[in-house]
Structures are given as C-alpha cells and as structure tokens.
C-alpha cells in the first residue's frame, strides 16, 4: 500500500518533483521490502502564508528577515557615512 502525502512549499520545479518522488518511492520500497509499483505519492503545495512554525507563516518570516536586512544595511550605510565625514 504505501500511500505517501508530501507537503512542500510552492516553487519546486517539475524536475525537482520528479526527482523527489523517484527517490522516495525507491527508498520506501527498499526499506519496507515492497514492490515499488505499490507505492503511490501525492504532492500538495503550500504557499508562503499557508505554512507556519510557532504561529508565524513563512511569508511573515521572509518579510521580517527582509526588514532586518534593510535595517542592518541602513545602519551600516549610516555608519559608513558617519565614518567618512569624520
């Protein structure tokens, strides 16, 4: 029977999906000693705001990281400016 549902973030290429189902079917059949033909895999993709860890979506986390990077960049730019004017 093995029926496997894989939840992935959207954005994988067709090539990646084909590679991962081939690898997982092979791994499952070998580890359980079953015929690979009995292994079925379903992929469901989830957008950035459809997956959350600790109540924070991947979309929010990306925004926060971008904001932090912008702040850091602004700070170092300001620091560089301050340095150059002294």
């Amino acid at each position: 029977m093995p029926i496997i549902e894989m939840h992935l973030m959207t954005g994988r290429t067709v090539e990646q999906k084909r590679r991962v189902v081939a690898a997982v079917a092979e791994a499952t059949a070998t580890a359980l000693g079953v015929d690979k033909n009995t292994v079925r895999i379903l992929i469901t993709e989830h957008g950035l705001d459809e997956f959350a860890v600790a109540g924070v979506t991947a979309g929010q986390k990306a925004e926060m990281a971008a904001a932090a990077a912008a702040t850091a960049a602004g700070a170092s730019e300001a620091a560089a400016k301050a340095k150059s004017t002294t």
Copy 2:
C-alpha cells in the same frame, strides 16, 4: 509535535491566514503545555466546488440561494407591479 492541517475555503486574505495560524498555535501550545516552536500548521484551500455538505457543494448551494433570491425578488416585483396597477 502538534502538526495541524487546516482546510479553508479559498478567499481568505493573507492577513486572515496570519491571524488564524497565530491564534491556533497559541491556543494549541497553551492547552497542551507544549513549546509553541513545536507547532506546525499547514493550510489547504478548497474552491467552492471542492467542498460539499450532504453531497451538495458550496458552489451549488450559492447558486441555489441566488436563484431563490432572484425568484423571491421577481415575485415581489410582480406583486408590486400588480398592486400599482390596481
């Protein structure tokens, strides 16, 4: 572990999704006494004809409600016309 799959009708805003996963993660962690970082939430959205109660999809139900409203509107319009012509 808590891993939570939420099935929602399509159409929620990013804001709503962020709000609901934050609230559910908080509620789960508090009720079970687990670290919020262990809570993962997956949202899957379903279109109007991908959810059914009693064998009738949400799309069908909406159409039937619209048809009933149109019939009722037509009837009251006809009644109003009948009244004004008497």
Copy 3:
C-alpha cells in the same frame, strides 16, 4: 461524522465534481446508515507532476507514452515510405 478527503487529478469539470460528491455522499450515508447531512467531502486536486506511481509522475508517464507513440508513428511512416519506394 464521515469526513471524506478525495484526491483527484486536476482537470475535472465543475459538473463532474458535483456529480461525484453527490454520489459519494449518498453511497456513504446509505452504506453506514447515517444522515447524509453529517457527510462532509473535501476535494484536493493534484497536477500531473504531483501524483506518482512507482516513483514516476503522471506527467512523466504521459511524456513517455507520447514519445513511444511518436517513435511508433515514425517507424510505420518509415516502413510505409520504404514500401512505396520498392
């Protein structure tokens, strides 16, 4: 309770989805002797490269079938040409 999740290949018409959920809800309620109103059905659609049997996606299988058909067509065309020139 019966809550039923149906995984289908993408491409079904709205009409087909309505027909299948009506039939499945009826079948479930009758077979289990429960009120049809308690039956809820969720449909999730999967693209050609989001479903795999034996580690080969439906998309790959379709490509291989098309390639085999093209090869066969080419072969019979070549055979026909060979025949006509003799």
Copy 4:
C-alpha cells in the same frame, strides 16, 4: 487516481467498512468515468474524544446528553413521587 481518505468514528463493524468502501468506489468510478481499479480508499477511525464540532468532542456531547437524560428522569421521577403522595 482517485485516492480517498475516509474519517469515521470508531465502532463500525468489518461488515460496514466493507460495504461503505464498495459503495464509495462504485459511486466514484461511475461518476467520474474511471476504472474502479484506480480507486484506492483509506479509512482512519477516530475515538469519541478525537472528533469535535464547535469545540465540543463527541465524548463530551454524549456525556452531556446522558446527564440531561438523567436529570430529566430524576425530575419526572420526583414529579411522579410528588403526585403519588398527594
């Protein structure tokens, strides 16, 4: 492909499970026009406190119904007693 996951309350007999999967496979194959051999069904059973509507589990609901019945029985018994003593 159709792959169907059925969530049921625990307590169905083997006979009921066999009947429902036969009926659902037949209904699905007919409604979608697919070969019945492509239909796979998975049943997952949930205990009384593993299913909730409106945040109240089936187990709680049963307890509340039993308590209400006991109260009603007690009340009518008290009423009968009061009546017989007058």
Copy 5:
C-alpha cells in the same frame, strides 16, 4: 518544510518504521537540497479492512485468496483420491 504523511498497513515492526523514515528523510533532503532537519514524517497505520483497492478491502482479498487456495487444495485432494481409487 517537507512534511510527509505515510500510510502503511499495520504490522510493520519498529525496526522497519525506523528504517523507512530514515531512508525517506534522506531521499527527500537529497533530492530537494534541503536540510534533513526540516523533514518531518508522520506514519498512520491502517488495518486490513481499512484499505481498499477497487472497493475490496485487503481483508476481503486475503479471505478470497484463502478460500480459493482451500478450494484448489480440496479439488486436488479429491482428484488424488479419485485417481487412487481407480
């Protein structure tokens, strides 16, 4: 994210489960180029009458196979008896 749900027939040993999740996590991480620590796997086991192909449960199929084997054994026994008495 990869979150993977594996549906297996009941009866696998702890050793088999550990082997299959190790192999699948490794295969997934390698094929997608993600950190293995992000891969989470959930196993759900299904009894013989909780999995059906073409509307026939694995339990029914096993019974039918046993019955067919018994019939075949009976037939060859009868044939052997017939032969020995001639």
Copy 6:
C-alpha cells in the same frame, strides 16, 4: 468550513484533548470571523515510532537520550567510586 486535522503524539488525556479542541475552535472562529459551529476538528494520534524529525523517530530519540543519561550516570558513579577509593 474550517476542518482541522490535528496530529498529536499518543498519550494525551481525554481532558487535554477536550481542552485543546475547545481552544482551537474558539481561536479559529474568532480569527476568521466564522460561526464556531462550522468548525470541525479531527485528532489523529501517532506512537513514538510513528513520528520522525530528520529521519529519527521520537522513540529512537528517547532511547538515545536514555542511553546518554545512563552513560553519564555510569561515568559519574565510576568517578565517585574512584574518588572514594583514593
């Protein structure tokens, strides 16, 4: 609609399950602005060797932790013995 599937480690008490579904239904209804009666929650429990992070089941992890603790205890006991004999 919200239909929510919660995957938990086995071992939660009935009390904990009732508490978590009440809290999650409340949180979901409030965050999405839907009637709590439309929220359905399914709990599925997974044993120690039916959940894995990075390909290591919770059962394996517990065994490794116990082994490490035993080694550490043995080491400190040996150290204490060594000390007392000097």
